[in-house]
Symmetry: C2
Subunit: 447 residues, 2 copies
């Protein structure tokens, strides 16, 4: 039987999953492919190390170049992570006319154009299903399933750690730091969680999705990003009062010929399927011209789900090799890619939730709403709690004689630039005690 | 620019959508494909007829064979529907080495093996994304996205009409016949709705999904089917009391080396994402070894969503033609197909909801539970309403001196064969007034 040789770069969690899945499902994969997929070499950082999967010691080497250069390696599976080392490894593989499967969103967000251009020139495949939403096949869906459609907007929960933390904050009412510590203890958050909770990881994935959806490359660094660290348990209580859940969203939309892209926690109506995406799960909600609303949901991270996506890519590249068409079919968007700057975030229009901590004295509400009104931020709903404001679910209530009260405002659709100016002016009012809590509302009206 | 010629069979709703989408998105499709997709001929039943889309009168013909035979037609897009005429048209197209795109689930459920064997022999592509879940790309997902995985079970809402009716019954509390009439008036149900509400349509789609998921062909006629006509509004009230929604499910699972397949209304826990699939929407919930739970959601019917799937298939086949690999890549499952009988439905094990109408006299509950117990059907929960039973939401209450009461039972997991025997015996009890309402509970415990 024909063998397709794989060189694996990296044997961390996902790499171990790839080895395990290729072994566990070997028979089925052979039957589907009419060929055997064989790992011939694995580049690792440390040769001696306990691993979650049994691996023949002879396969291991510390030399990435050696793996890539082997004659019996037809596909290089890059699972090193990071941008720089992965970039040089992948470009080296392409230069040697090896096909590439990668799970590296950072690599593609930062150096995607360079990688794809090199692959096109050399006539090799680059597959990357595992880079976004883990095992959920959103790349194939956008590239092929919706190939005939015109995508208007995507709303994604693409970072499992953030979703896990917000789901926990909503259900247990504990503060961010506690929930993060718990998530770290349970393996849902890394020791340094900055990239996940700060929104950086989501912005890399969003850059890749924008390329697929709109045929446009953007600077991932230009995407507006707001993390989830500042969220207060009390805002989850208010969210539910108003019929919303707070979810970590990555959003890209076509607005007046420009692309609006942003990553931030958002209030999502409870009637919207996205509001029900629990725990560490991911989901991508797509709105397109012909299909209307569609959603793709599942495990966005983890050893086996991510490995599943990578091995499905290996199967597809292996299939292309067997059919002698590897490198011949378009593999990113079908479109010619155009670089485009993103729409100025100040031009964003959406509804806003705002919670102000103010001293409890007459006329305060009027002063706040006046400032908002002066900036054309129109109010849909106001809740001013009397002394009987809801107690913080974390019990962390300010006690004392001059206990502040909360004024909670839901606005009509307003312009982000105006909102920010109004908020700055309100922050300077002498009656305002703490910075306002502000959460954008994501509302998709299903037609 | 290279042109790929299409012959369209049928210009109903979906056919008109295909024409419209090819026109509306012509520029984007050209850019993605590097080729122009051109409809050269359309077979219709009536030449003169008002249509939802403007079509050049010269393209129309009543002769299917003429469309297929044209030299400039490289892909035949079959949208006639039905089994027999479509079968002969598709086989004729394949015999003439034309590639085929079809939306015809009946054709594939009944004659799939014959069609695929002919296509393989002739070296042509047969694509059929539009046959299941309309525009939601579940075929590609199962075939390619999850190619490396091993699927354990699928739970689908694959019939939009049934989901629309059950969603309406749940929200308005009106009887089945009223809601059906309303659905017909609003275009969500056909004049003869038998195939939709009886489960036949779902069983055809399930047969196709089973082929993709398990590499097994089955007789669609053998799939256990129960329609939704018998559902009573009161059972929706009880369902919610117990934390469930009633949804029209198509289920296939691997159980002890056999395939269990069934189509019936089911109680779905409200915490399960499937419970939130509203209106006429479709969704496929998949559980697989490596990925775990995943779900694919969107419009399962309608002119533009279904046309979107068909045109995405046309683009993919056109792409294959351009890359000179049409017919060379495996297109159903990757697996060799094996015919297999289905698991005996009597062996099904699940939990059950049962509502008995009984005369209001002492000892009745005991007699019912004794029969259940004798058949090893163990009870998890019982509600016996006193005279203050909840009134039927449709107001259709039986009045009179000997007003029956309801005994509602939730069982533990039990064997279908035993349950049916117990129910027959209970029906013969003199205290039982009406046939029992019985709804299977579909419970997937997310790991």
């Amino acid at each position: 039987m024909r063998e397709i040789g794989i060189g694996l770069l990296g044997l961390g969690n996902v790499g171990a999953g790839v080895v395990k899945l290729l072994k566990d499902n070997a028979q089925a994969i052979e039957a589907r492919l009419g060929a055997r997929v064989v790992v011939h070499a694995i580049a690792v950082r440390e040769l001696e190390k306990a691993r979650p999967v049994e691996v023949d010691r002879d396969l291991l080497t510390r030399d990435v170049a050696e793996v890539i250069a082997r004659d019996d390696v037809e596909i290089v599976c890059e699972l090193i992570g990071g941008a720089d080392r992965a970039r040089s490894a992948v470009l080296e593989a392409i230069a040697r006319k090896k096909h590439v499967v990668t799970a590296n969103k950072l690599l593609l967000a930062m150096h995607g154009e360079e990688v794809f251009a090199a692959a096109e020139k050399q006539g090799v495949d680059v597959y990357y299903e595992a880079a976004v939403c883990g095992g959920v096949p959103v790349i194939r869906t956008l590239r092929e399933g919706l190939a005939s459609d015109r995508i208007d907007a995507i709303y994604g929960i693409v970072n499992g750690t953030s979703n896990f933390i917000l789901t926990s904050m909503a259900s247990v009412g504990r503060p961010f730091a506690d929930v993060l510590a718990d998530a770290q203890a349970r393996g849902y958050a890394e020791a340094d969680p900055t990239l996940d909770i700060g929104g950086g990881d989501a912005s890399h994935k969003l850059a890749i999705l924008i390329m697929l959806c709109f045929g446009v490359t953007v600077d991932a660094d230009e995407i507006f990003v707001e993390g989830i660290e500042h969220l207060d348990p009390i805002d989850f209580v208010y969210a539910r009062k108003f019929g919303y859940e707070i979810k970590p969203l990555a959003i890209a939309r076509q607005v007046e010929g420009e692309i609006e892209a942003r990553v931030h926690p958002a209030m999502v109506p409870q009637t919207w399927l996205l509001a029900d995406v629990p725990g560490a799960k991911n989901a991508l909600y797509v709105h397109s011209y012909a299909l209307g609303a569609s959603m793709y949901y599942g495990a966005g991270a983890g050893m086996m789900p991510t490995a599943m996506a990578a091995v499905s890519d290996l199967i597809e590249v292996a299939r292309n090799i067997r059919a002698e068409v590897a490198g011949a079919l378009p593999l990113r968007s079908y479109q010619a890619l155009v670089h485009q700057p993103l729409r100025d975030i100040a031009e964003l229009r959406c509804r806003y939730y705002m919670r102000f901590s103010v001293v409890d004295q007459p006329g305060v509400l009027g002063r706040i709403t006046t400032v908002l009104g002066n900036h054309a931020v129109s109010i849909a709903q106001v809740v001013q709690e009397e002394s009987a404001r809801p107690s913080r679910p974390d019990g962390d209530d300010t006690q004392g004689t001059e206990r502040p009260v909360w004024v909670v405002v839901l606005t009509h659709e307003a312009r982000e630039g105006n909102v920010q100016q109004a908020l700055m002016q309100i922050a300077e009012l002498d009656v305002v005690v703490e910075p306002a809590a502000v959460i954008r509302i994501a509302q998709y009206i299903v037609p």
